[in-house]
């Protein structure tokens, strides 16, 4: 669906019917000296299967023909990425020249001194690369506390609320604007008999409750509307025992009562599917799920979904951003680093953006978003609102993924104990307290090791 829309847009914009058939003059002018300097250089990029990576792979032959640089994409399973990166680094880090990174482990890699700061490269990038055009929130999530940019984003998302517009209209329910209203609405729809056969046909709400990389997302997302904190932005200490953070978890535990059976083991796939198969009236999820919900080939609720920014909590309405970027390994030699940057310049540029989008790449640029907006996709306005909510949170000095070198460990801890609370194995208060203690212990350990 998304692909069709973008292709139509590109056609309307008159970019051409055959992508890449003609290299723009500016790129060709840039490519000649690059070829002269770097032709024959071979680089290895570690990545996982992702629509944007697929799009990059489609564009890579053009780049290779233009520059003479040989690009090898090493594609592995997403869940194995972090382990593989650590293994490569433990072995010296020279066999991989660039890697796909997300904010969760980016700062751990920075802590290991594994990533090359990209500031000098960005500063000297050609005008058609146009770094300013990339959403500042996405750039910001991959920027260190030292203001160095360690990766360039190629996929971004934020959190928002999806709801069954058709059912809301049918039952005269208005879109929940607050967290309390979300619970009330979830309760109203939970186990509702929609077809009159005397059996419940739908659950109130769906979200991720799976241990580790799952439950961490809704908990982090809900923390800020409730006025909680994950880490203290000044000291870097754990704040998982702050009242707002406990309240956020209590909200999710309460919401789980109106969620599909087994919510405590729902990863993003199960959470999305519950909604797309018409089994949930609402879904708190990442904006990346929206195109799937509107895809008639995989969703039973296409055309029936409404989208709204995150509901307001006692402390306000906030969302957060998350995404993937490409970082450069420090251990690479200078030629390889320049070749990696040449690749990033080419693939991530504003100039190549339409081809990238036509190949199903995820939008991270303001201009790309504006192109898509013309098609009046039902979720774009809510995504914009969610991005504004994320910007508001960033202004307060917070992110849903704090710039912590041990955040991968924290993800596992908050995901584990958060999931236990949702499963009813412990109360939200105990889960938050245990998480706080464990996270603080991990932070202290990390500090101790650094002192050594």
């Amino acid at each position: 669906m998304k692909k069709i829309i973008v292709v139509l847009l590109v056609l309307l914009l008159g970019v051409g019917t055959v992508f890449g058939s003609e290299t723009p003059k500016v790129i060709k002018e840039w490519g000649d000296p690059v070829r002269e300097k770097l032709a024959g250089t071979e680089i290895f990029i570690l990545a996982s299967a992702h629509p944007s990576i697929n799009a990059f792979q489609e564009l890579t032959p053009q780049f290779e023909a233009l520059t003479g640089i040989k690009v090898n994409w090493v594609i592995i399973e997403e869940g194995a990425m972090y382990g593989r990166i650590l293994m490569e680094l433990a072995a010296g880090g020279k066999s991989i020249n660039a890697m796909m990174v997300c904010p969760e482990y980016l700062f751990g890699l920075v802590d290991l001194d594994a990533l090359e700061p990209l500031n000098k490269y960005i500063k000297n990038a050609p005008a058609w690369f146009d770094q300013e055009d990339i959403f500042p929130a996405y750039m910001d999530m991959l920027t260190g506390l030292d203001d160095n940019v360690y990766a360039v984003p190629f996929a971004g998302e934020s959190g928002f609320l999806m709801y069954r517009k058709d059912l809301f209209d049918e039952y005269g329910i208005s879109v929940p604007a607050t967290c309390d209203e979300v619970l009330e609405t979830a309760k109203f729809f939970h186990d509702k008999d929609l077809n009159g056969d005397g059996k419940g046909d739908i659950d109130g709400i769906s979200f991720r409750g799976r241990r580790g990389w799952g439950m961490n997302w809704p908990w982090a997302l809900m923390t800020f509307p409730f006025g909680g904190e994950l880490l203290d932005p000044k000291t870097g200490n754990s704040r998982f025992n702050s009242q707002g953070t406990i309240d956020a978890l209590s909200f999710l535990v309460e919401a789980a009562k109106y969620a599909p059976e087994g919510i405590e083991s729902f990863g993003h796939y199960e959470a999305w599917t519950a909604f797309s198969m018409g089994r949930a009236a609402m879904l708190i999820e990442s904006t990346a799920a929206a195109p799937l919900m509107e895809d008639k080939t995989s969703s039973l609720v296409a055309g029936k979904v409404g989208y709204s920014a995150m509901p307001e909590g006692p402390a306000g309405a906030y969302s957060g951003v998350w995404g993937w970027g490409l970082g450069m390994t420090k251990a690479s030699n200078e030629k390889q680093k320049e070749a990696v940057w040449a690749l990033m310049t080419y693939l991530f540029s504003r100039e190549k953006q339409m081809e990238y989008l036509a190949n199903n790449g995820v939008v991270t640029r303001v201009s790309g978003f504006e192109y898509l907006e013309k098609e009046k996709l039902p979720y774009l306005s809510a995504i914009k609102d969610a991005l504004a909510q994320a910007a508001k949170l960033a202004k307060k000095g917070y992110t849903v993924v704090p710039r912590s070198p041990i955040w991968m460990e924290v993800v596992e801890l908050m995901g584990t104990y958060g999931s236990m609370a949702v499963a009813g194995q412990m109360t939200p208060e105990v889960a938050a307290e245990v998480t706080h203690e464990m996270v603080q212990k991990a932070i202290d350990n990390n500090r101790l090791q650094k002192q050594k």
Partner: protein, 292 residues
Amino acid sequence: MSVINNRKYALIYIAPAFVIVVLLTLVPIFMVIAMSMSEWTYGQTFNSSTFIGLQNFINLFRSKELLHSLRLTLIFLFTSVTMEFFLGFTIAYFLDRLNMKVNSLLLGLFMLPMVMMPAMVGTVNRLFFHPRGLVNFFVESFIGFRVNWYSAGYALIAVIIAEIWQWTPFFILTTYAGLQAIPQEPIEAALVDGAGSTQTLFLVTLPLLTPVLLVSILIRTMECLRNFDMIFNFFAGGPGNATETLPINIYRTTIYSRALGFGSAKGFVLIALMVIGAIVLSKLLIKYSWNE
């Protein structure tokens, strides 16, 4: 050729295989021991690690998480292997008794779960055991209600069922092969002497089959103890820590906490468990077969 010459040649012939086995097994084990005595942040090179003696092992005994994982691992091991053994043996025994020929089609069907990648088995079963999945479709049809396999109370049972589904065919095949290979004369003699089928099974067939069964149990014990891919893809150790067996706990320590030294100490515990299991089963094997 003298005995001494025979031994000399034998040593020369087995030397390459011996060196390979040593390099592939003993060297990594010694490396794990060396790593377990160090503080090494994963992602840094080994040069940056520091020697801390037995500190990781001292921390190990204070770890409640490890005890929990150990308990789950043993439950998973004993339940899975026992069920696989009984189911596999029973099916193989009746296939043999009924003189059913295991043709290539039947063999292929038996082998199908075994040839699947454990990671895939985990992923597929995550779908099958979904509260609204295929397993509950049958459960609901037969007993009238659904089981929440995704809950903390049932997740480990779901994992054990998946493990049994995948590896029972292994016992069917090895036991059936064993039954086909054992001499028929003692069985026939027992039957002629008036022994019933139960007596023949327990007093003749089983003793003759013991070496095969013990080797099968030994292999499956080792496999079960180090099962990671299936459980990780199924529940990732969750919900909460309901399926966090030792390999998952080691992964979590090594990858997420980047504590390679502490993770190696836990790995050493796993190796020790496997060695103990192997010694016990090997002793039984020697007692019941090769020394006879």
